[in-house]
């Protein structure tokens, strides 16, 4: 790859890392370290929004129930790591399972001895369950179009929400608390304790960055183009040999896995989870965040999602929290259906070009004037040096 291209690819990632470090150091310096907690939570929510961005922005499928996958992941790991299995006794398969790392013995908050599933095993279980449910729901739902799909996913989310509220195993309206910490590596433990705040924050940043990079690779590849083809013309996409049903489902399952993963990390970080995570309000909020980020704009979604969720968690919206997201949804969708950052991005690009920045390499071919317009929909087309063609 030409050097310019490599720098262009690495630039956003570098900026992200720089900004993330800068924020943390600034917080340390001003003694507002406790804000890292909400920022970490906001970053985990951003993972869900990124998965939804792939499904909505690039594949064009609306999902109004993604909170349910976050909740499924979180609740699975919460239930498995808090449910006491001591009744299994000390013998039988138990010592083997302990040795294999699937079961773990620990003490709970009150000093009682507990035997539960280990966090790693619970994480795997959560991922499997998330994938299974996504396949189960996705397969019939993704055959539906537009608003029917939206409502099916909404109904799914609400059903999960109601089931969690009704189930005593899931703690009903109180949710689950006392979720233990999760030791990932030596020195890196997912937990909410004060001294571990910085390391958890960087862990969350790292997960978001890795997801961004993976999704960006995906979007600029054969698969990404196929998804966008499905979004912009499903019939034509099928007529070109793209297996639309399979691709939609895969994108959906991938986004569900991301949401479930976020749920697991979130639950271990905050020590608990509640049924409202699966509620319609939360699910709609993710849609608002993707719209705010620009629908088909991964970095924009990550940024806006983190920023808005942080503001919400810090209480800046007060009692108008839900109203803000509702209003945001209305404004964004009615005024800027392609996302608010698109006009902004276009404006910045024009400024940059005036300052001498070369056009994006992928648009530079044969050096004609027409290629300079890049991805902006230009109203007029100039073709030079081709006799016989007029701008029709």
């Amino acid at each position: 790859m030409p050097r310019m291209n490599r720098i262009r690819c690495a630039l956003p990632a570098a900026l992200f890392a720089l900004a993330a470090t800068g924020v943390q150091l600034a917080m340390r310096a001003t003694g507002t370290d406790y804000c890292l907690t909400q920022l970490t939570m906001a970053l985990y929510y951003a993972l869900v929004a990124l998965g939804l961005c792939l499904v909505m922005g690039y594949a064009g499928q609306v999902s109004l129930g993604h909170g349910a996958f976050f909740a499924l992941g979180g609740y699975t790991s919460a239930i498995l790591t808090t449910h006491d299995l001591s009744w299994l006794g000390p013998g039988g398969a138990v010592p083997w399972l302990k040795a294999a790392g699937l079961l773990a013995a620990r003490q709970d908050l009150y000093g009682n001895r507990l035997l539960t599933v280990s966090p790693w095993a619970a994480f795997l279980a959560a991922m499997l369950l998330g994938a299974a449910v996504a396949c189960l729901i996705g397969y019939p739902a993704l055959r539906l179009r537009g608003h029917y799909l939206a409502l099916a996913t909404l109904a799914f989310g609400v059903i999960v929400n109601k089931l969690l509220l009704a189930s005593s195993l899931a703690g009903a309206a109180d949710g689950i608390n006392g979720v233990p910490e999760w030791r990932l590596l030596a020195g890196l433990t997912v937990c909410g304790k004060g001294p571990a705040r910085a390391s958890n924050y960087y862990l969350a940043c790292g997960l978001v960055l890795l997801t961004l990079l993976a999704l960006r690779n995906l979007v600029h590849s054969r698969v990404g183009r196929a998804l966008q083809a499905i979004r912009d013309g499903e019939t034509s996409a099928a007529a070109l040999g793209i297996d639309t049903a399979r691709y939609k489902l895969k994108a959906f399952v991938l986004s569900a896995l991301l949401a479930a993963m976020a749920g697991v990390f979130f639950t271990h970080y905050t020590g608990g989870i509640g049924p409202s995570e699966a509620g319609a309000l939360k699910s709609v909020r993710y849609v608002a965040l993707v719209a705010a980020g620009g629908l088909a704009n991964l970095w924009g979604v990550a940024l806006m999602s983190t920023a808005l969720n942080y503001a919400s968690l810090r209480g800046w919206f007060g009692t108008y929290d839900n109203a803000v997201f509702g209003a945001l949804l209305i404004l964004l969708v009615s005024l800027a259906p392609q996302g608010p950052l698109t006009p902004l991005g276009g404006w910045l690009r024009r400024l940059a070009r005036r300052a001498g920045w070369k056009p994006q390499p992928r648009a530079r071919l044969a050096g004609t004037a027409a290629a300079q317009s890049g991805a902006d929909p230009a109203p007029h087309l100039r073709i030079e040096g081709r006799p016989g063609h007029g701008a029709a």
């Binding site: 099916a152 109904a155 059903i159 209003a327 009615s334």
Partner: protein
């Protein structure tokens, strides 16, 4: 109480709830037919009808309060259409539906702030909480008769309006062929606003009449909208009479589930119906062919 009369009790309870779902479903159909949009804020009209009526009832007599609430919410419905949907012609149907979701959230939060999170209700129209009529061995509250009667009368009136009056026929023309309707001189925009106003009025009336039984609180809108949508889809979008049938079916299934499952699960039945209909037969019982699946557009 005998098994049969218990079953009848559940049936009546189901039909009562079902008529509210039917009212919401008809509202959905009205707006869908006239604009192609699924208005997920429909449930909030029901909630607001009850809330406004309760507030007005402190100052005026009950019938005036109910009428006033219906008029106010109807005007609100018209206002919403003018503000949010008139100018948005280039947006896809999906965008518009998402806007209605946003509106539903904002209306809910506004209700929370204008009133509060407490549950309130209108007084019983006739009698009180303990009065009951005896019908085939089951005891029902007089309010149930009010609910069934009001919704039934409204549905008939609406059918009459759509079939026999000029504005009603104009609305039907708009929904079956907007271009032709325009060419015939029908003002499409006003028809759309009218459809919103009528839907809102219908929802508000249902909200008033159900208030003594199910109480009114700021969060009741969302589940109502989803259940009402389930009813509309079950009957078949575009068919108002089928929506009534759909509503009654959803209500009865829900009541039956209450008798079998723990109370906490009774909401789930309606949503499961919605999912099943969408997956198995999106056109519902009486809807047109080939709707909702890949293959259109």
């Amino acid at each position: 109480m005998t098994g049969a009369s218990l079953a009848l009790q559940y049936l009546l309870s189901g039909v009562t709830k079902g008529s509210v779902y039917a009212a919401v479903a008809i509202g959905f159909n009205l707006i869908y037919s006239a604009t192609g949009v699924l208005n997920l804020a429909q449930g909030e009209f029901v909630m607001l009808g009850g809330m406004v009526a309760v507030s007005l009832a402190h100052y005026v007599a009950l019938p005036v309060a109910v009428t006033g609430a219906v008029v106010i919410v109807a005007l609100l419905g018209c206002l919403l259409e003018i503000l949010f949907f008139r100018g948005l012609r280039r947006h896809s149907v999906l965008h518009l539906i998402i806007i209605t979701i946003g509106l539903s959230i904002v209306m809910q939060e506004a209700a929370l702030h204008l009133w509060d999170e407490k549950v309130r209700s209108l007084p019983y129209f006739t009698g009180n909480e303990v009065s009951s009529l005896h019908f085939l061995g089951a005891a029902i509250s007089p309010q149930v008769v009010w609910v069934l009667g009001t919704v039934g009368a409204t549905v008939l009136a609406l059918q009459g309006f759509l079939q026999f009056t000029l504005p009603g026929r104009a609305m039907r023309a708009c929904s079956s062929n907007p271009e032709a309707a325009m060419l015939a001189g029908i003002n499409l925009r006003n028809m759309r606003t009218l459809s919103f106003g009528l839907s809102a009025a219908l929802g508000a009336l249902a909200g008033c009449v159900i208030s003594p039984i199910t109480m009114t609180h700021y969060e009741m809108g969302t589940p109502l909208a989803i259940k009402g949508f389930a009813a509309a889809i079950l009957g078949g979008l575009g068919n108002p009479m089928a929506a009534v049938l759909g509503g009654l079916l959803v209500g009865v299934v829900e009541a039956a589930s209450v008798s079998r499952l723990p109370a906490a699960y009774n909401d789930v039945a309606a949503f499961v119906i919605l999912l099943l209909v969408l997956f198995v037969r999106p056109r519902g019982l009486f809807g047109p062919r080939q709707c909702g699946t890949v293959g259109e557009g």
